[in-house]
Symmetry: C2
């Protein structure tokens, strides 16, 4: 089973949280998602406990180094996800980026970086089949 | 003169473009800003020319490696800025992050990373004095 680091916006905004949840659930049919909490609909963007952030950073970077593969949903802009993508590249992890091209223009720092595998889509129905192809199903 | 890489949101949203412009102008009183275009109010978030993105990525990463210092205004979430911050860390560049704490909760991937110098502010009048202190004025 592949260990997947799933990246999606938290404090950047939770507009796509339900999509993240569906994607994580779909990946979990055959593989492991280290960051299952990203799809937790109860997780608020304003959650912020003092001194918790260092623990979050340490855990997320440990999971990135442990993962076999990174899958990021990038329609909602996020500083944390941008950081995670560069971190994953630094450690040589394969990175797949999905985004809704009808709703956003992806950053040139991602589309212009030949390291990343970019998967634009225009309707939500395309998302799960893209995941299947990434996971070799 | 210090060569500053100024990072701010472009495709993530241009709500703070005028603030970026003022910050860049202030830095330029004594130092060099490699990324002056980030404060160009005519720069649209929907600007997207085919095959231009690789050139943007190559130029921005070259500027990051060439810079002495990175200053990022992070109130508006941006995938590109998140990527640039991790890239700057990888190359050992000092990184200063400013954000309006009355408008946003910064990502734990930034606040939890001990590498970064984080400068929260709550009124715009604090921003230029923070720049002065970063630049040793």
């Amino acid at each position: 089973m592949t260990k997947v680091y799933f990246a999606g916006s938290i404090r950047g905004g939770r507009a796509d949280a339900e999509l993240y949840r569906q994607m994580i659930e779909h990946i979990q049919k055959t593989d492991i998602v280290l960051t299952e909490h990203v799809g937790n609909l109860a997780l608020s963007k304003i959650e912020h406990l003092p001194n918790r952030d260092v623990a979050i950073y340490d855990q997320d970077t440990a999971w990135l180094r442990e993962s076999d593969l990174v899958i990021a949903e990038c329609t909602t802009p996020s500083l944390g996800v941008g950081y995670e993508l560069a971190y994953a590249e630094r450690f040589g992890k394969p990175v797949h980026i999905l985004f809704d091209a009808s709703r956003t223009n992806l950053s040139a720092m991602l589309t212009g970086d030949p390291y990343f595998h970019i998967h634009p889509y225009t309707t939500p129905s395309e998302v799960l089949p893209i995941l299947d192809s990434i996971l070799g199903r």
